[in-house]
């Protein structure tokens, strides 16, 4: 028995892979739910109800999906070019922090200010990844380790800023940063819910990334750089320039996620504002097989699991950590499923 690379991957298989992966992950997690003494079907039913069962639930789920789309895009863009950006979490926080800081006292009219803040958030995220990308290109330092370590450095830096220069003197309890000006809060998409127009920005970003990757020279170069760096380099593609471009785009998207989350949901920055959006973005990107359109669907799935698990936990007593287990399992099962889309088994 041996594996043979497929020359062409049928569309049916592309869609079937993540579905099969998710079903397998849910089946595996069912054992753990049963161990908690709860019927897995009941639990999954509660989960669906908690995430999709009412108008409010759906808006909460989509609110959660918004940053996940952007961090998922960040990971997808980077992984396509084999740039292992595991620093989405840190880039998210830097984007959020600069947005809160600049947005607190920016003297610009609303819509223009929002645009400026988004650009600033992207710039902050991009800079955070440009550093590790530079270290890889210049000194050959593995970006996996540097981006991972930067996550810890950034979260400490955020703590430093919100307990120091950016501390909100009006906030009670846990330290939090000054809030963005009311003019820069993103308008609600659905009235009287937390869902904001950031969702549309995220979907637009997915479309833009898809266009860039599929229809521009840069996109083709980035793909070539990931697929076969030596051949790409031989074909006259400048690897340093391409990888740096990928890094700026990827870091920018994760930074944008932070900016949008601050303007749309939290208004100010705390060290617990992200329940792992950066790390979950990696799962989103993999479930999407690194395709921008798939990222939107995968983010909705991951958000459904997270939001649904909270409700399910309240109803059944199964620890809500089951959400993290399901999401992590679906990453591993997707990895196996991808094997069958890229290869076929030959006798």
């Amino acid at each position: 028995m041996r594996l043979e690379r497929r020359a062409h991957v049928p569309l049916g298989l592309v869609v079937a892979a993540p579905v099969a992966a998710i079903v397998a992950a849910l089946a595996l997690a069912a054992g753990l739910i049963a161990a908690a003494g709860v019927n897995p079907l009941t639990a999954y039913g509660e989960m669906l109800r908690g995430a999709l069962g009412s108008r409010l639930a759906i808006t909460e789920m989509l609110t959660r999906a918004t940053p996940l789309i952007l961090t998922g895009l960040a990971a997808a863009v980077a992984f396509r070019a084999r740039l292992w950006n595991i620093g989405g979490e840190g880039q998210f926080y830097m984007g959020a922090l600069i947005t809160a800081w600049a947005g607190h006292s920016l003297g610009l009219p609303g819509p223009l200010g929002i645009a400026v803040l988004m650009v600033l958030g992207m710039a902050a995220g991009a800079v955070m990844l440009a550093g590790p990308a530079f270290l890889r290109l210049r000194f050959g330092v593995d970006e996996v380790v540097t981006t991972l370590l930067l996550n810890f450095i950034v979260i400490l830096f955020v703590g430093l800023m919100i307990e120091g220069p950016l501390r909100d003197p009006l906030a009670f309890g846990w330290p939090s940063s000054v809030p963005v000006d009311g003019d820069y809060r993103l308008p609600d998409l659905v009235p009287r819910t937390r869902l904001h127009i950031g969702l549309l920005f995220a979907i637009a970003a997915a479309g833009a990334v898809w266009l860039v990757l599929a229809r521009t020279v840069f996109g083709a170069e980035a793909r070539a750089a990931g697929f076969n760096p030596r051949a790409a380099s031989f074909a006259g593609i400048s690897l340093p320039r391409t990888l740096m471009g990928v890094a700026l785009l990827s870091g920018g998207l994760a930074g944008l996620a932070g900016a949008v989350e601050v303007m749309g949901v939290t208004a100010s920055v705390t060290t617990t504002m992200s329940p792992g959006f950066g790390y979950a973005g990696i799962v989103v990107a993999m479930l999407a097989a690194l395709h921008p359109a798939g990222v939107v669907a995968a983010a909705v799935f991951v958000a459904t699991v997270f939001v649904g698990a909270d409700a399910m936990s309240r109803a059944t007593g199964v620890p809500s950590f089951i959400a993290d287990v399901i999401v992590a399992l679906s990453l591993l099962t997707m990895l196996v499923a991808l094997l069958f889309t890229t290869y076929r088994v030959r006798q």
Partner: protein, 313 residues
């Protein structure tokens, strides 16, 4: 300023260095043996979390401390087996699989902990490893508290460095592991199965990572709580590069890192007006600086991250 220097002469600082280094020594040895066989194991952070939980839980449920460490090793090896199956026979991306293992192992550890343990106001505790009392040796000035009053797992960690140094450099098994990381085809030609070597090395390395995690909950602290590994696994991945994939240099790296960590903790109490976060950042920043310094000279195992497929070049 004088006070900052005085810390350096205190026995408690140097005793803390060995204590803080212990989980790192286990972790870095684990990561090292995986990578020497050609497999990057980014599951380390999650495997250490799993080891921390399993080691603690075993003791909490009534077993003795050594059984706790053994169970942590077994749990680590199981996670390692999963990583090995995905990356060695299936040849999947070692980066993505490792991250998946980290996410999965830590989520599973938290889930099982919440399921089995009733957590009240504060997390329940166990009686952890005590510092050994080696009689007159432990009473020696300075040397006593630093070298002869550590808890037992610290000595196991130091012994593990010697054993790994010997096995890797001087035994046929070590040669097979190193060769698998350099040129698996040559190993196959020698009649040794490189796939089996890699699976075995990843399981053994992951068991060490599990023990490293368990040290946190059975010796350094006495309870388990989320996020307690705090990037120690990632530090170990950096230390392996810093150590050029050599056990004794890995020990040196772990000790250096632990020294900075112990020193910054004590410096916080002496230096006024500097936010404590800057001190906490220092070890992470230094790890990155160390990587930059050694990266150019790094002797990376040639077949690291290259999946081995029989009959394929």
């Amino acid at each position: 300023m004088i006070e900052a220097l005085e810390i350096l002469t205190s026995a408690s600082l140097w005793a803390a260095v060995l204590r803080i280094a212990t989980p790192l020594i286990f972790g870095v040895l684990g990561a090292l043996i995986c990578e020497r066989s050609g497999v990057l194991n980014l599951g380390i952070e999650g495997i250490m979390t799993m080891g921390a939980m399993v080691g603690w839980l075993t003791v909490y449920l009534g077993a003795d401390l050594w059984t706790g460490l053994a169970m942590a090793a077994a749990a680590g090896a199981m996670m390692g087996l999963l990583h090995a199956l995905l990356t060695v026979p299936l040849g999947l991306s070692q980066h993505v699989s490792g991250l998946g293992i980290t996410l999965f192992a830590s989520a599973l550890a938290y889930y099982l902990y919440r399921l089995i343990v009733v957590v009240g106001e504060s997390p329940p505790t166990i009686v952890p490893f005590r510092p050994l009392d080696l009689g007159p040796l432990s009473d020696l000035p300075f040397l006593g508290p630093v070298f002869f009053s550590q808890s037992a797992p610290t000595y196991v960690a130091l012994l593990a460095v010697v054993v790994m140094g010997y096995v890797l450099a001087r035994t046929p098994l070590g040669l097979a592991i190193r060769m698998t990381g350099e040129n698996p085809h040559a190993v196959e030609a020698q009649g040794v199965n490189p796939i089996a070597i890699r699976i075995g090395a990843v399981m053994a390395g992951s068991a060490l990572m599990g023990v490293g995690g368990a040290f946190l909950t059975t010796a350094a602290f006495n309870s388990f709580f989320p996020e307690m590994v705090q990037g120690r696994g990632w530090i170990c991945i950096a230390l392996v590069v810093f150590a050029s994939w050599r056990p004794y240099k890995a020990l040196l790296g772990a000790l250096l890192f632990a020294f900075f960590d112990a020193y910054q903790l004590r410096l916080q109490t002496v230096v006024e007006g500097v936010p404590y976060q800057l001190f906490l950042m220092a070890p992470y920043v230094l790890s990155i600086v160390a990587l930059i310094l050694v990266a150019r000279r790094a002797e990376v195992p040639a077949a690291l991250m290259t999946p081995y497929r029989r009959g394929e070049r």
